[in-house]
């Protein structure tokens, strides 16, 4: 009964309606950022500044131990952290997306997808600001790049595509089990060091092959970074990511179909 085709149909309708309301979620996304930085002098500049500052310190600290040239390690850290930031905010804020949209959800009938897309759009806006730092880093460090690097853009699109199921699913679970939000925060904090951002897989030794390469986030990251810095298409990572994407959407379909009508009670 819970997973009846009727319920699934309603979930799909929620999704399509949510996409149609692009004016709503894009406006809400901007409003979100706007209200967060409204009364500060630097405003949105803080997004840029905090990212740049963090990355700079990491390059200085970890650069000497990386065993790589700074012209490589600089952009390596910047791109890596850029992608990681996108993933972690998507996951972490995804968990509390419905919870923080409580006021809207309880006030009127709105497709829940709207809030998921709002969250994703907001993250994309933040990422586009951070992208400025990536550009600066590439201009400054001048790594060896070819036109092959342009592959990164469609592959980053794949990350955004994953963002939809991640947020929809995690937001539903997060509304039901509040522990999930905290668990996600905890995990993501650790993942920062288990993902090849501040270290390079080929210099870290066997631990990469034995353990760390099973971290799915690594493959999302490699997918975007390798075309830029290694001039290669990471086929293995691509396969991993594509499988996760498909499985993720299937899992999301179940979770969201189950939770959609309950979320208004849960939040």
């Amino acid at each position: 009964m819970i997973f009846s085709s009727e319920q699934f149909g309603k979930s799909l309708a929620d999704l399509t309606e949510g996409f149609k309301k692009h004016e709503v979620w894009s406006t809400l996304a901007f409003e979100d950022i706007r209200s967060r930085y409204m009364r500060s002098y630097a405003g949105i500049g803080w997004i840029f500044l905090s990212f740049a500052f963090f990355v700079l310190v990491k390059i200085v600290i970890f650069g000497p131990t990386s065993g790589k040239d700074t012209s490589f390690f600089g952009p390596y850290v910047v791109i890596g952290f850029f992608v990681y930031m996108f993933m972690s905010t998507t996951i972490q804020e995804g968990c509390s997306t419905f919870i923080s949209a409580r006021g809207w959800i309880k006030g009127a009938k709105i497709p829940l997808t709207v809030f998921a897309l709002k969250s994703l759009a907001r993250n994309c806006i933040l990422a586009s600001i951070n992208f400025g730092v990536v550009i600066l880093a590439i201009l400054y460090f001048k790594p060896e790049m070819t036109w092959f690097a342009l592959w990164s853009f469609p592959l980053f699109g794949l990350l955004i595509l994953n963002g939809i199921w991640v947020i929809l699913m995690f937001a539903t679970i997060g509304a039901r089990y509040r522990d999930f939000v905290h668990a996600a925060n905890t995990v993501m904090r650790v993942m920062l060091f288990l993902t090849p951002i501040f270290w390079v897989p080929e210099t870290i030794g066997p631990i990469w092959d034995k353990l760390l390469k099973y971290n799915p986030l690594s493959h999302y990251l490699i997918l975007v970074r390798d075309p830029v810095l290694y001039n290669r298409f990471p086929m293995d990572s691509f396969i991993v990511v594509m499988s996760i994407t498909v499985l993720g959407y299937i899992a999301c379909a179940f979770v969201f179909t189950y939770g959609r009508s309950r979320v208004p009670f849960w939040v």
């Binding site: 709503v24 406006t27 409003e31 706007r34 209200s35 009127a108």
Partner: protein
């Protein structure tokens, strides 16, 4: 065009969190308002609505009444499509506008204009449509330059104006309101009512949950009386409202702060009231929404007050005054202090105001104002045995302090009511 059709609507409000699951108020009650226990998620929760059926056509203005926790807001949310019913059929045709909590959905940091835009977008309008309606919203809300300020700076009434204007300007067919217009001034309320009538007269439907009798009488033609999730009555306002008001009387009187009424009512029908109370409002008090046990059980209170009065004279008078109506708490205290100062006279007078109702039953005789109560007291209360009038004066003085000590010291009847009541009074006082 607008139509609302509800048939056998049942809705279980899921209870989540281990705390809620373990501590359930009145788990033995069955029926609506009771807690259902089941292993699967679906059947565990509060039965918020049970077998609700009604039908509204264009032009209908439905008032939903019922005690707190009866399911009014839940029903509105079901009509709005926010909650999906567990069982039953709900069909709502027409464009819905919802006016629930004033704060819900307002972005505190955004300006009034931004909020108009956002709420318009949320309710499915395009940016163009919203911009086109902007002048009308500006005019209706009368907020003027304030619309350029963040909503966080607004007063409650201003926020309400903004929300009402933004919510109703797009000519919805169905307007769902939950306890609204409370914060508005007279002029705006008038305006808002005119608009509500506009909506209804253009083939719309108004559904209004409210505790305000006059609003219901003025605005509604139909009435749905909910009690612990079930429909107690549905029909024309004139047919149902009297019965409903009667059922709410003890509470209603208290809330209106009319001391004499409370006592009159409390005295004679003690047994009846209590019996009714046990039957009817208990499930209500079992709803999680009830603030405190004291607040939830109105009937027991009068009961207890009456015995108090009999048993302990002066001392009890002061607590009674405090406890009966909220606002009286202040006056009651004043009375106590005055008594202390004026001694006999003041005390006697006050007694007359407070005690007559109580005293009527037991003591039909002596019309001496102070005399009755005192006499009664002496006879019935062991502690008050101290006879001489001089001592009475002393007793009066002690009154406030004594009341406190008695709570802890006294055993049976008097102590309990005092305990339950006093906290209530204090709460009310602190709130205000």
């Amino acid at each position: 065009m607008a139509e609302i059709f509800v048939k056998d609507l049942t809705l279980t409000y899921p209870l989540l969190g281990s705390g809620v699951r373990k501590k359930i108020i009145n788990p033995w009650a069955s029926g609506a308002g009771s807690v259902e226990r089941g292993k699967d998620d679906k059947s565990r929760g509060v039965l918020a609505l049970k077998d609700v059926s009604f039908h509204l056509k264009k032009g209908d203005r439905l008032g939903i009444v019922g005690p707190n926790g009866a399911g009014k807001s839940t029903l509105l949310r079901v009509l709005a499509g926010i909650y999906e019913p567990s069982v039953g059929e709900v069909r709502v045709e027409g464009e819905i506008a919802t006016l629930f909590n004033i704060g819900l959905g307002l972005q505190a940091e955004a300006t009034g204009y931004r909020n108009i835009l956002l709420s318009g977008l949320i309710s499915g309008k395009t940016r163009k449509e919203i911009v086109a309606k902007l002048p009308e919203i500006e005019e209706f809300s009368e907020l003027g330059e304030y619309l350029k300020l963040p909503v966080r700076t607004y007063s409650n009434g201003m926020a309400m104006r903004l929300k009402f204007a933004a919510g109703t300007t797009f000519e919805p067919n169905i307007l769902l309101m939950d306890e609204w217009l409370g914060a508005g001034d007279k002029k705006f309320t008038q305006k808002a009512r005119a608009r509500m009538q506009d909506i209804v007269s253009s083939a719309g439907i108004l559904v209004l949950a409210s505790h305000r009798q006059r609003l219901i009488q003025n605005e509604c033609n139909k009435l749905l009386w909910l009690e612990s999730g079930e429909v107690k009555a549905f029909g024309e306002v004139d047919d149902i409202l009297p019965d409903f008001l009667e059922s709410m009387e003890p509470e209603g009187q208290k809330s209106t702060h009319m001391i004499p009424k409370v006592r009159k009512v409390a005295k004679p029908p003690k047994p009846k009231d209590t019996a009714e109370a046990v039957v009817v409002p208990v499930p209500v008090s079992s709803m999680p929404l009830a603030v405190s046990p004291a607040a939830a059980s109105p009937e027991p209170a009068p009961k207890k007050t009456a015995p108090k009065k009999k048993a302990t004279p002066k001392k009890k008078n002061t607590p009674d005054k405090e406890s009966a109506p909220n606002k009286n708490s202040a006056s009651g205290r004043k009375g106590a202090t005055q008594k202390i100062g004026r001694k006999k006279k003041a005390g006697g007078k006050k007694k007359t105001s407070a005690a007559p109702a109580i005293g009527k039953k037991p003591s039909s005789g002596g019309k001496k104002k102070g005399g009755k109560a005192k006499a009664d007291v002496r006879a019935k209360s062991p502690q008050a045995k101290t006879p001489g009038r001089k001592k009475r004066a002393g007793g009066k003085k002690k009154a406030p302090a004594a009341a406190v000590s008695k709570k802890s010291a006294k055993p049976a009847s008097a102590a309990k009511p005092a305990k339950t009541r006093k906290p209530r009074v204090k709460k009310a006082g602190t709130r205000k």
